[in-house]
């Protein structure tokens, strides 16, 4: 399916999520489903929580206990294939990479989108960190039921 549509299967997505009890703190979700020669996520993780190993073609693997959810890998991944996810009360909270204009502003309500670009519902912009290399990191929250479906946000205007 991913090969034909660019959309991973629900099983593929689930395989990258730790157990929900581990999501009380944010964890990196590594949506890299293919062996490609690339390793910045691993070499840039300050906690050695992302393992690729000697062969840089291998897919990254998260050591959940080591991941602090700092989100450094979110901004580093050249494929924009990493977000962090957490569960906070009835909200799912994500840090996503964002490279489009306009940039969302804290407090705004945007539209949450799934992996096929379909609207999920309102997404609250919690925080926006502007990065020098222009891959900005946006913290956004949605209803918790969208935990496994959410992919990015769209400007409501």
């Amino acid at each position: 399916m991913l090969d034909k549509t660019g959309v991973p299967t629900p099983d593929q997505v689930l395989s990258r999520f730790p157990a929900e009890k581990d999501l009380l703190r944010p964890k990196a979700i590594l949506e890299c489903y293919e062996d490609i020669p690339c390793n910045p996520c691993s070499t840039n993780c300050p906690f050695q929580a992302i393992v690729i190993g000697e062969d840089i073609n291998a897919q990254p693997r998260l050591i959940v206990e080591r991941c602090t959810g700092c989100g450094l890998c979110v901004a580093v991944c050249p494929g924009l294939a990493i977000m962090t996810a957490a569960l906070k009360n009835d909200r799912a909270v994500f840090q996503i990479p964002y490279e489009l204009l306009p940039l969302p502003q804290t407090g705004e309500e945007w539209v949450g989108l799934d992996r096929e670009g379909r609207p999920l519902g309102p997404a609250r912009i919690e925080k926006v960190v502007r990065k020098a290399d222009r891959t900005n990191v946006v913290t956004v929250s949605l209803e918790a039921r969208h935990l496994y479906a959410f992919a990015t946000v769209r400007c409501p205007r």
Binding site: P37, P40, E99
Partner: protein
């Protein structure tokens, strides 16, 4: 006739890296490029690169170009650069003719590195000469070098990494990508690039091709058709999409012409993109002292072009009697990096192609 020790044609990732390492070894280098900007295709790459830190992964392409040019700064005395200079002829008696500043100049070289890159392939379909039908390279140049949006509503043909990346860049620039069309049954490039487009709502249509562009004086739309297993259009599956630009990204072919003019052996190797010079393990063609690197010797990623350029520069220097002080270490390191970059499933085609394009015997 101008006498030069080492001439490098093409100042893209391969040529710039070759120039640096050859200069380190003590060569006097002339680097020639036809463009007003150094960096080759890197100057229009606004996305972050894959690879490892040794190939400057996670850096945007145009920043890599700036870094590679800066790397040459300490060698200002020994690396001469001609920009807006086009090599138009190459002769077996080690002579190049160059068109620059309104005149032809003749250069005699002792060693030569061809880092001339690759050219875009075209696609035959009705009305493909209408204004609004672009190659992906032109779209990137207009958009990312000159700040001109080539169209507001675009249909992309081809799902290799270039097609996928240019779609994303079009969206960043404010265009709407109406569809990405791919004749093969599967997406050609990295799936992470495809996923980036899908979550922004771009439809990816595999086993689909463009039949004709619509419009009288400019593109107003395209007609698409589904393809069967033998790549033939399926009757009754035609559909129309309104757009004001069609971008063709159906692959690259190495620019082999200079190597051919010099008399190098140039077999057709489909896996490497077309006609490529046979190379020995030190990137020397079958013409003694003539080396090749980058897409000119097989279409790959810029990361491999940089490493291959270093290897070519290192061995051209040795050919000229300038053994780099760290020759063996750099040689070993470059080969390790290349086998790592080509080690995965995406490298399988390249690995197969390189076997066909490698000569075991010494150059004549």
């Amino acid at each position: 006739m101008i006498e030069k020790e080492l001439v490098i044609v093409g100042a893209g990732p391969a040529g710039l890296c070759a120039a640096r390492i050859a200069a380190e070894a003590g060569c006097r280098v002339l680097l020639i490029d036809r463009s007003p900007l150094l960096g080759g295709q890197l100057i229009k790459q606004t996305h972050k690169f894959f690879g490892s830190e040794q190939q400057r992964a996670k850096t945007r392409g145009f920043r890599i170009a700036e870094a590679l040019v800066a790397d040459l700064k300490p060698f200002g005395d020994t690396v001469e650069i001609w920009q807006e200079a086009t090599v138009v002829g190459a002769y077996p008696d080690s002579v190049l003719t160059v068109w620059t500043n309104g005149e032809y100049r003749k250069i005699h070289f002792q060693s030569l590195i061809l880092a001339v890159g690759a050219g875009e392939r075209s696609l035959a379909f009705e009305n493909n000469d209408l204004p609004g039908v672009y190659g992906a390279g032109a779209v990137q140049t207009l958009m990312n070098v000159y700040g001109v949006l080539p169209g507001k509503e675009v249909v992309m043909i081809g799902s290799g990494n270039i097609g996928l990346i240019v779609c994303y860049q079009l969206i960043q620039a404010g265009a709407v990508v109406k569809a990405l069309v791919e004749a093969a049954p599967k997406i050609g490039g990295y799936k992470v690039h495809a996923s980036k487009l899908r979550r922004l709502g771009v439809p990816i249509l595999t086993r689909t091709t463009v039949v004709r562009a619509l419009g009288d004086s400019a593109v107003k739309g395209v007609v698409l058709s589904g393809l069967d297993e033998n790549w033939n259009p399926i009757p009754g599956t035609e559909s129309e999409i309104a757009c004001d630009a069609v971008c063709v990204a159906v692959g690259l072919s190495p620019l082999y012409q200079l190597a051919w003019m010099l008399g190098a052996e140039i077999p057709y190797v489909g896996e490497l993109g077309g006609m490529v010079p046979l190379l020995d393990e030190n990137r020397q063609t079958t013409v003694s002292g003539v080396f090749a690197a980058g897409d000119a010797s097989g279409v790959e990623e810029a990361s491999s072009a940089m490493v291959g350029g270093r290897l070519a520069g290192l061995h051209a220097a040795r050919f000229l009697g300038h053994l780099h002080p760290d020759h063996t270490a750099i040689d070993t390191e470059c080969r390790a990096q290349l086998s790592s970059l080509r080690g995965g499933p995406f490298g399988a085609k390249i690995r197969a192609g390189l076997k066909k394009a490698e000569v075991k015997v010494h150059a004549r």
